[in-house]
């Protein structure tokens, strides 16, 4: 039996700005729910009356613990105390919240207080004999296998399996258990100023060097290649030239 904690947050729809289940947190819950033989404890730090929390219950959770905290306060001490008492083997989080400070620091600070390993951007996970084998999703569709000793904090990538539908009856049936929690005010956020985001103009790559004619050419001309040209070579010559070029640019590697 693996003891699993899932940290859930409330998301915000980018267009309508209505609260919703956060997409990455829903993926984290999906990964926890599909883990065989797991004892799942889900927690949220915030307002217990938030209706979007019911969406998580509708995915198949029986109970959700909410540490009641006023908005804009630091959730880390409350979450750390809760998780230290629970002592889970694996903590699942989305890699970043949407709607708060969105710094992506919660998993790292939680791992620090639990003195657990942290692995970011996980797409799949299996647990065996107090060890976990994870598949990390990297850029350009690459994957990496990582082995760690539990306990571990895992942040879930957008490449993880998509979350299941939320069921209305389950969402009504599930229990939200509110616990009082201590949350200090965040002095750093108080000093910062907030204003609505204004889209910035797209940055153009301008070349500062060269004459005016060179700069105009660089801006207007389509990029042309290095210009190695072979005219009517034999098929073997052409094949060798292409293969050597690919090797030279380290696109492919020669197996020895």
């Amino acid at each position: 039996m693996v003891k699993v904690a899932v940290l859930l947050s409330v998301g915000r729809h980018p267009a309508s700005e209505r609260s919703r289940r956060a997409p990455l947190d829903a993926r984290a819950l999906e990964m926890a729910l599909s883990l065989p033989d797991a004892d799942i404890h889900a927690a949220h730090a915030g307002d217990p009356a938030e209706p979007a929390l019911r969406d998580y219950l509708g995915m198949g959770l029986a109970r959700l613990t909410v540490l009641s905290i006023a908005s804009g306060r630091d959730p880390i001490p409350a979450l750390s105390t809760y998780l230290a008492q629970l002592a889970p083997d694996v903590v699942f989080c989305g890699s970043r919240a949407e709607g708060g400070e969105d710094s992506g620091m919660v998993p790292y600070l939680v791992a620090q207080t639990l003195s657990a390993a942290i692995v970011p951007d996980v797409a799949a996970l299996s647990v065996k004999d107090h060890k976990a084998t994870l598949t990390q999703a990297l850029s350009r569709g690459r994957r990496r296998h990582v082995e760690i000793r539990l306990p571990a904090v895992v942040t879930v990538s957008a490449a993880a399996p998509s979350p299941r539908q939320t069921a209305f009856a389950r969402a009504r049936r599930g229990v939200i258990e509110a616990l009082p929690a201590e949350a200090p005010a965040d002095a750093f956020l108080k000093e910062c100023e907030f204003r609505p985001w204004r889209p910035r103009p797209k940055r153009m790559r301008l070349t500062a060097a060269g004459s005016a004619a060179d700069r105009l050419k660089a801006m207007t001309e389509t990029k042309s290649g290095e210009g190695t040209l072979m005219i009517q070579p034999t098929a073997e010559e052409a094949a060798r030239a292409i293969y050597d070029y690919l090797l030279e640019k380290r696109i492919i590697e020669e197996r020895s």
């Binding site: 998301g11 915000r12 949407e98 708060g100 969105d102 710094s103 992506g104 620091m105 790292y108 791992a111 620090q112 692995v119 970011p120 951007d121 060890k131 850029s139 350009r140 569709g141 690459r142 994957r143 990496r144 296998h145 990582v146 082995e147 760690i148 000793r149 750093f188 100023e193 907030f194 204003r195 985001w197 910035r200 940055r203 790559r205 500062a208 060097a209 389509t222 290649g225 290095e226 210009g227 190695t228 040209l229 072979m230 005219i231 009517q232 070579p233 098929a235 052409a238 094949a239 060798r240 292409i242 293969y243 070029y245 690919l246 640019k249 380290r250 696109i251 492919i252 020669e254 197996r255």
Partner: protein, 399 residues
């Protein structure tokens, strides 16, 4: 110089006045001194020519009283580009790049641009902490380079790298530490360092101006601005790249560090290239109207480990599925290498490959746009080159 003949004056001298009809003395030509010397166009051209570079410049008004002052042309010796040395920096800015595959990425260069922006305000210096030696740091604008020996850092060792950054921070006492906010490991490393050091991280910085940093927050709806913090991570495409003046990139000794490693084992997983979406692919084999043997084309893709793509014509005819179309109406690709067989290069297709670094094209038409765009262009029949390349790849891959 021969005197210049004046035919009108000569005619006037031969004229016999006082007759009814105009009459001329034809016997002897009288000597008429010319007022103007004969022009020598070659000498004039030689005198007007100013040699500044490969092409000569000609200044016809040189030396004339009304002419605009002739520019003093001094042949500038071609020397090494200018180098800027910050000998005694007022403070240090530490930049920790991703350098995936041992080379600076575009995001890393933007990171150095942001670090230069912070350092140049008050006479500071940019220090870069890399794992192993990286080439091209001086051109990128780095004043000091600190390389952790590659033996101490494993291929994937974020815990070791975080410990190394902390050791460098305690040694150098930099005013700011900058990371790239990227999925290549920079975002992860920044948060590890922030958690270990207890400092607040200002993540995904979009702008630095007037001693303040700003970033997007609340799901991108709000902008949050605050005083410049110690730890920053820099968003992609937000800062300009440092250009022009070289910097010193003087080597510093890396500090000793010890890390507590909880990640036991990490290894990359081979991914089937053909299952990747085109936008994610790193190496694309693309076919156009010049390809007829599609079975061979697929075999070649498998042998080279390339993701398959095609032009609009090919997808219209059903040789490849629609999600494999490259171009303005298909996918805009960001692959490192694009190998095009039998593609002429319609403007819409070339729009789809503007971000590609290395393009190889095989086409029968020498004047095709694709041949002009390619880094290695081969004017040959794609159908003949494909089996040769397939055989070549199979022999050398297993030989």
């Amino acid at each position: 110089m021969r005197p210049r003949r004046d035919p009108r004056a000569e005619r006037q001298a031969r004229f016999i006045p006082g007759t009814e009809r105009p009459r001329f003395v034809l016997a002897s030509a009288p000597e008429v001194p010319s007022a103007r010397p004969r022009r020598d166009p070659r000498a004039l051209r030689r005198a007007a020519t100013i040699r500044t570079g490969v092409r000569p410049r000609i200044d016809w008004h040189a030396g004339q009283p009304g002419a605009v002052g002739r520019a003093e042309v001094v042949a500038r010796p071609i020397s090494a580009p200018e180098i800027r040395i910050v000998a005694d920096p007022a403070f240090l800015v530490l930049a920790v790049p991703d350098h995936p595959g041992g080379a600076l990425s575009d995001h890393d260069r933007e990171l150095i641009g942001a670090a230069r922006q912070l350092a140049d305000v008050g006479g500071g210096a940019v220090v870069m902490l890399t794992a192993g030696d990286i080439a091209g740091l001086a051109e990128a604008g780095v004043d000091r380079a600190m390389a952790i020996p590659a033996a101490q850092i494993d291929n994937y060792d974020p815990e070791g790298r975080a410990a190394a950054v902390l050791a460098a921070i305690s040694l150098l006492k930099p005013r700011h530490v900058l990371f790239p906010e990227s999925g290549e490991g920079g975002a992860d490393l920044a948060r590890r360092v922030a958690a270990l050091s207890g400092e607040r991280l200002f993540s995904g910085v979009e702008a630095l101006s007037g001693g303040r940093a700003s970033r997007r927050t609340q799901g991108g709806a709000m902008e949050m601005a605050g005083a410049l913090p110690c730890l920053l991570s820099i968003a992609e495409n937000a800062f300009g790249v440092h250009e022009g003046v070289r910097h010193e990139a003087r080597k510093l000794d890396a500090p000793e560090f010890s890390a507590m490693r909880r990640i036991e084992n990490a290894a990359p997983v081979p991914v089937k290239a053909d299952l990747l979406p085109l936008a994610d692919a790193d190496f694309i084999l693309s076919g156009g109207n010049g390809v007829t043997d599609w079975k061979r084309f697929v075999e070649l893709g498998q042998a080279l480990g390339a993701t398959l793509g095609g032009s609009r014509v090919v997808c219209d005819e059903g040789h490849l599925p629609r999600d494999r179309q490259v171009g303005a109406s298909g996918s805009v690709v960001t692959a490192r290498c694009y190998l095009a067989f039998g593609i002429a290069g319609a403007p819409q297709h070339l729009q789809g490959i503007t971000e590609v670094r290395h393009v190889v094209a095989v086409n029968t038409d020498l004047h095709a746009e694709m041949i002009k765009r390619a880094d290695l262009a081969i004017v040959a029949d794609a159908q003949a080159v494909m089996p040769a390349l397939l055989q070549h790849a199979r022999e050398r891959h297993h030989g």
